[in-house]
């Protein structure tokens, strides 16, 4: 039995990721148990942890702090493979400038910044914010979660804030939106994506399948 805990901290649509993981598990013919939960005991009992996130970071962090999810995630991160998605990834960083400035969990070194109100591409064309849709992800480091995912595959993004980190060694994938921005980070047993693998059809399902089989080593 492969137990997957999707951490629920009251921020809306976590069903997409749970359903995608169940689907991938069925494809693998694996016995998979996906729980969407905020229960520390269930998370502690899981083999793998998914830390999703949607919405505004202030509300996310407020819920994380209220439910003491930060400590639960911190414990999980010591031992288990963790996949953080979108605002889930942003919540792992040091600080976000969203909502007038919010301190995050600081499990990964870096800041979360706003794209800006007049974003342009290299030829001066206007870029919409949020960055919404399918963009190419360049794999900057090899990683078990990239297995069978072609380099420069398009993944689905939807975000107005992006991660900036000086620790280039944790940057695992980048995408181009006005400048090269972080699409994926990896640090030991944590893999984090700005894009939504659960919404990225075949390549996203491949990444989730890799996660189900990943032992957390790099």
């Amino acid at each position: 039995m492969n137990k997957i805990a999707v951490i629920d901290y009251g921020m809306g649509n976590l069903h997409s990721v749970a359903k995608a993981v169940e689907y991938v598990g069925r494809e693998l013919g694996e016995d998979i148990d996906v729980v969407v939960t905020e229960d520390a005991a269930k998370i502690a009992a899981a083999d793998r942890v998914i830390f999703p996130g949607v919405g505004a970071i202030r509300d996310c962090m407020a819920e994380i702090n209220r439910l003491n999810v930060g400590q639960i995630v911190a414990d999980a991160m010591k031992s288990k493979p963790v996949l953080a998605i979108c605002v889930g990834m942003q919540a792992l960083m040091t600080h976000s400038e969203e909502n007038g400035g919010v301190d995050c969990l600081d499990f990964m070194h870096g800041d979360v910044r706003y794209f800006g109100n007049d974003l342009r591409d290299e030829s001066g064309g206007r870029l919409k914010v949020p960055h919404m849709g399918w963009n190419r992800v360049k794999q900057t480091r090899s990683h078990p979660l990239w297995r069978d995912v072609p380099d420069n595959s398009r993944f689905y993004f939807v975000h107005s804030y992006y991660v900036q980190t000086e620790k280039q060694e944790i940057v695992t994938g980048v995408t181009d939106y006005s400048a090269e921005i972080v699409a994926a980070l990896a640090d030991d047993n944590i893999f984090a994506t700005q894009f939504h693998p659960e919404k990225s059809q075949a390549v996203g399902l491949t990444l989730l399948r890799n996660f189900l089989q990943w032992d957390g080593a790099t």
Binding site: N13, K19, E22, A56, N117, W134, R136
Partner: protein, 258 residues
């Protein structure tokens, strides 16, 4: 290397069946909505929009059931619209597996609803659907007004001002339908779309009037749409999603080829 322009097939659904009317009449049946959604996803659709045209009357439970079924099979973004009137409706649809909801009439009746929805669930899942109709006479500066209740009720509200207001309230995306063009296969209202796209920073989905693949190209290149939505050309197999994408790619538009 850039963000792809999205192609979004739209499923107008009545009791779980995909239907498509011409100007909201002459409903034709186009199949079981779960099967249709899966077919489009496999063919490379970038998102699916599901509009419950029976929502304001009946079939609410059928819709929830259908959304759940689609979300278990389709791993691309799913927008659900039609009869979204309060925060509880949004929660229900998100819990059923929708990624975004489209709000139309309820936003006009209570504009603060959009702000409350964006604050509660995040702008990324709040799409405001705008049904606009040209009200300026020939020779006058172009002007559009928004309509509600599936295009039946005029509001007197200027469409571009309304879109600006909705974005300011927290809409993450605008689904812009030209009532003049919807169902006509005469092409998008390009001037309307361009005016909207230039007025706000969020993505605009052009809708209403697609009859040819060239219309999709015009929607992006001239209407400056970030995504193009179409129903009947895909439902009745006039064109496939693959054909649409290769046609657009051949004309220099970035699309996601699968």
């Amino acid at each position: 290397m850039a963000l792809a322009k999205r192609i979004i097939p739209c499923l107008d659904c009545d009791n779980g069946r995909v239907v498509k009317g011409v100007k909201f009449v002459n409903i034709r049946d186009a199949g079981d909505s779960v099967e249709v959604a899966k077919r489009y996803c496999d063919a490379g659709a970038d998102e699916i929009t599901f509009l419950d045209i029976s929502a304001s009357h009946e079939g609410r439970d059928t819709t929830i059931h259908t959304v759940k079924a689609i979300a278990g099979e389709v791993f691309i973004p799913l927008t659900v619209g039609g009869g979204i009137r309060n925060l509880e409706d949004i929660r229900t649809m998100l819990n059923a597996g929708a990624d975004k909801v489209a709000i139309n009439t309820a936003a006009v009746e209570n504009p603060e609803f959009v702000r409350a929805a964006a604050q509660r669930f995040g702008s990324q899942c709040i799409v405001v659907a705008v049904d606009a109709k040209q009200v300026s006479a020939e020779g006058e500066p172009l002007k559009w007004e928004i309509f509600t209740h599936g295009g039946r009720n005029p509001t007197g509200i200027d469409a571009i001002e309304w879109i600006e207001r909705m974005v300011e309230s927290g809409a993450g995306e605008i689904l812009l339908t030209s009532m003049d063009r919807d169902g006509t296969k005469a092409g998008f209202d390009l001037a309307l779309n361009k005016a909207a796209s230039n007025a706000v920073q969020v993505p605009i989905i052009a809708s209403g009037g697609v009859g040819t693949l060239q219309h999709l190209v015009e929607g992006v290149l001239e209407g400056e749409a970030d995504a193009v939505l179409a129903a009947s050309i895909f439902h009745f197999q006039e064109f496939t999603i693959e054909q649409a994408k290769s046609y657009m790619a051949a004309r220099g538009i970035e699309v996601r080829l699968t």
